[in-house]
């Protein structure tokens, strides 16, 4: 390794957002002719670190050396001039333009589509990409779009290539193709960094692994000298005891039965594949998985917000009768007498209306009550007052627009409303994301209270330490498939972490 030249050296780079330290004195070297896998859990600071290389963020402290020379990177343009190109998770492409037009967008000089197309074809031939320069972006599959993004970076002469979770949106076959291309680029002497969570990809693709955890640099090693267990341990760290209360389920009975559920997104990509499980009353079922593995689609399918392709979702009444929820919208589900509450991931974009005050947001669920043409504001107002008091929401008053509350308080308002309707099923997505310790514990307590009342709680989470202490069972999703359902009392987060990174997951144990 020492014989290679460091294309990029980052030294003691620190970046904070408000009070959160996203990167804490990180030093990292990237070499030419090498594929480096940057590994870490959600929120460990991988993307932030590389965004500083690509000019999106500016570091608070620390130095960056490119080919041995200290450089200041202020914008993506600066980064490209230094030969650094980043392919983001969210593509920056214009739908109605062709591949070529997107690739040359923003460059100077006379427009010559033909010449540009020729150059693009040369790049494609060299590395084995398949791009039709004339094809419009809206006609492309996700993997084709990604190819365009990569070619865009190469076209601009980048020799340091950063890919942020490139395989999150790809099928295994497409991933293999991408890997082949990346290997060719490595052999061509380019420096490549990929961010990923998936162990098998790290093993098959990378030459070296660097691990981040909680914004800190944990270490790096040659891929051939390590193994999945070691990497997982480095990634998730030692088990921390959080002392979250976990009462035993009382009289659990099946409440939600999902069988063979498959969902495709608008682009035709399979987001959920043949998912089956049962959620019991009086139990917290955790759903773990790398972000974007189908958690959102699963919850929205149960809540009646997602078009499904096949499979069934049944609600089991106390007397054993089954109500089919599939194909019904939220209103119809409520009319069946199924009291289903949903705390979505996008709090202000879906769960609440940011510009409305607390009372009006409480009304979202109850405004239809009664036969009067007028909406009853009295009970929502009382509810708002109660939520503010019970959950200790910090707010100037109940007439404050919720967008002006802090993240934790917004979440308390949302959760408070959702549990106020005495649900029998409670779906939560990333319920503690962005919340401080105290607010998080308030939310855990609320969920436990619901569990004790016999509610079937489905908890989509990202912090495995929390999940193994809070949940009763944990369902692990990987690439839209169930890779395992484990008893949270008997598992540890390494086992869950392994399942999260393994497509298919072998045998399914209920």
């Amino acid at each position: 390794m020492e014989t290679k030249t460091a294309a990029v050296s980052m030294r003691n780079v620190t970046k904070t957002f408000g009070s959160v330290v996203a990167n804490d004195k990180i030093s990292l070297d990237i070499y030419k002719g090498e594929i480096l896998a940057l590994l870490g859990e959600n929120g460990s600071g991988k993307t932030t670190l590389l965004n500083m290389l690509s000019g999106i963020y500016f570091p608070d402290e620390g130095q960056i050396f490119i080919n041995g020379k200290e450089e200041v990177i202020r914008s993506p343009k600066d980064a490209l001039q230094l030969g650094i190109g980043m392919v983001h998770q969210h593509f920056k492409l214009i739908d109605v333009l062709s591949a070529t037009e997107n690739i040359i967008l923003g460059l100077e000089g006379k427009l010559n589509i033909k010449e540009a197309s020729k150059k693009i074809e040369e790049i494609c031939d060299k590395y084995g990409f398949e791009v039709n320069p004339k094809q419009k972006i809206y006609d492309m599959s996700v993997s084709q779009k990604q190819t365009v993004e990569i070619v865009k970076v190469l076209y601009r002469g980048a020799d340091i290539l950063i890919l942020d979770e490139p395989t999150a949106v790809l099928t295994p076959q497409e991933s293999e193709k991408l890997f082949a291309v990346l290997r060719k680029m490595r052999d061509d002497g380019k420096a490549i960094v990929i961010i990923t969570h998936k162990m098998h990809e790290v093993e098959s693709l990378s030459d070296r692994v660097a691990v981040l955890r909680g914004g800190k640099y944990i270490g790096d090693m040659a891929t051939r000298d390590t193994n999945v267990t070691e990497m997982t341990n480095m990634m998730v760290g030692h088990t921390v005891t959080l002392n979250i209360d976990r009462p035993d389920p009382v009289d659990p009975k099946p409440r939600i039965e999902v069988k063979g559920l498959s969902v495709r997104d608008e682009e035709g990509f399979l987001k959920l594949n043949d998912v089956s499980f049962t959620a019991n009353s009086g139990e917290i079922l955790g759903i773990a998985g790398i972000s974007g593995c189908g958690q959102k689609e699963l919850l929205e399918a149960i809540a009646g917000l997602q078009v499904t392709e096949s499979g069934t979702i049944a609600y089991v009444q106390d007397d054993g009768n089954r109500e089919m929820l599939i194909g019904k919208d939220p209103l119809k589900i409520a009319e069946l007498g199924v009291s289903l509450s949903f705390v979505p991931e996008d709090r202000l974009g879906m769960g609440l209306v940011g510009n409305m005050d607390l009372t009006d947001n409480m009304m979202l669920r109850s405004f239809r009550d009664g036969r009067s043409p007028f909406a009853n504001r009295k009970s929502p107002k009382e509810l708002a007052e109660r939520v503010v008091e019970d959950l200790e929401v910090v707010t100037p008053g109940i007439t404050t627009p919720v967008r002006r509350l802090s993240g934790g308080n917004v979440q308390k308002v949302l959760v408070g409303r959702e549990i106020a309707s005495a649900p029998t099923v409670l779906l939560t997505a990333y319920a503690v994301r962005g919340l401080d310790i105290n607010s998080s514990y308030t939310i855990y307590e609320l969920l436990n209270e619901q569990k004790k009342k016999g509610v079937a709680v489905i908890f989509v989470g990202e912090d495995l330490d929390v999940m193994v202490e809070l949940c009763d069972r944990i369902l692990v999703l990987c690439g839209g498939e169930v890779s395992g359902i484990v008893d949270a009392r008997k598992t540890d987060k390494n086992e869950v972490g392994m399942l999260m990174t393994r497509v298919g997951g072998g045998e399914k144990h209920e």
Binding site: K332, V353, N355, M356, R377
Partner: protein, 375 residues
């Protein structure tokens, strides 16, 4: 997430623009008042330049034009009522973020429907029945005119700004067709006063005043709309759809249904305004009977921040400007379009001042690093 964004921008070295968290109402109000005052000063200066008259005389004759006599005052209030009515009609659609600029056409078609009733039912039914028919017909016609673009929008997401604009012209031509069809006398291209002798289909005068009916209707609709938007379930749904369609779907509100229902209401009230114009005020129909108020109402509704009570003041201000400028043009031998110029200037100031209510400029410290926020 917008409000928390306070990141520096690269190409603006000296200051940058930040969205305000919120502004207390009296500060926002005083910004608007200052803008209007500034606009009036500019208008005065321009008038002095173009006419050479003392600026104080300009304001004096404006006031005289709007409130100089009892009759003038009544007409000012009557015009205000009609403008207010149309603004109120457009408001629920705007709150839903549906840009209905078809008020003009919806008013016209409502007016046409009542004119049709007045002409074809004359002498065939009792007056009360005729008026009932007129009410139903004009409201119904307006509703249909609002429904058509709403259906397109709900079904295929057709751009409503452009479709409602086209509906305006279709309505204008229908009126033109009808006017020629029923012109009196033949070849004049005008209908003249309808049922001048029998007065049938003329809306009743209230308390002996021919101006009061429109005013009373406007007051009632203002109250209705304020209550409807603020307290009713429908109003709440409109609000949610306008703020976030995603949230609306999440709580099971059918967005398409709300769009269609709201546009029908919008059209219905415009139709009512048409009824008042034809049956109550002018007793005739022309293609210009709406007089561009359908467009002006867009501005009134928007500059009042969709608040029905603020709209009373806004529409009074606009009508005051129109009538005041009209007076100036008469007194000083200027063209009548002068009022449009003055109205335009005031609108530009009001439109511009909204920026200072929603955003603020922050001067950057020299030492601040530049960078960009994440996508």
């Amino acid at each position: 997430m917008s409000n928390a964004m306070k990141k520096e921008k690269k190409r603006e070295p000296r200051f940058h623009i930040v969205k305000r968290e919120s502004l207390v109402w009296y500060k926002a109000m005083s910004i608007r008042v200052i803008a209007i005052l500034l606009a009036l000063v500019v208008c005065g200066i321009i008038t002095t330049i173009t006419t050479g008259i003392n600026p104080l005389n300009v304001y004096e004759s404006m006031v005289a034009g709007a409130f100089g006599s009892t009759r003038k005052t009544w007409i000012t209030f009557q015009n205000t009522s009609i403008l207010l009515l149309i603004s109120l009609a457009l408001t629920p659609a705007f709150k839903m973020k549906f840009w209905n600029i078809g008020g003009e056409g919806q008013v016209l078609i409502g007016g046409l429907a009542s004119a049709v009733c007045m002409i074809y039912l004359e002498g065939k039914v009792p007056n009360a029945v005729m008026i009932l028919c007129m009410i139903i017909a004009s409201i119904g016609a307006g509703m249909i005119w609002g429904l058509i673009p709403a259906l397109f929008k709900a079904k295929w997401n057709t751009n409503e700004t452009l479709s409602t604009l086209m509906m305006n012209y279709i309505a204008t031509q229908l009126v033109a067709f009808f006017v020629i069809l029923e012109e009196v006398p033949k070849g004049s291209g005008k209908i003249g006063i309808i049922n001048q002798n029998s007065n049938s289909g003329w809306l009743p005068q209230l308390f002996g005043s021919k101006y009061l009916l429109a005013i009373v209707v406007a007051v009632i609709i203002t109250l209705f709309m304020a209550i409807y938007l603020r307290y009713s379930k429908h109003g709440y749904e409109i609000n949610v759809v306008g703020e976030s369609e995603n949230t609306a779907r999440y709580v099971g509100i059918k967005v398409e249904k709300v769009i269609i229902r709201t546009m029908m209401l919008s059209g219905a009230i415009c139709g009512l305004a048409g009824l008042l114009l034809v049956g109550g005020i002018n007793h005739t129909i022309t293609t210009t009977i709406a007089g561009g108020e359908g467009f002006t109402a867009v501005l009134v509704s928007w500059m009042s921040k969709f608040n029905p009570f603020t709209m009373i003041i806004s529409s009074l201000l606009i009508v005051f400007m129109e009538r005041g400028a009209g007076e100036i043009s008469t007194n000083f031998g200027l063209n009548h379009s002068y009022s449009d110029i003055l109205t335009g200037i005031i609108l530009f100031f009001i439109i511009g001042c909204e920026f200072f209510i929603s955003y603020q400029l922050q001067y950057c410290k020299k030492t601040e690093k530049s960078g960009k926020e994440e996508a």
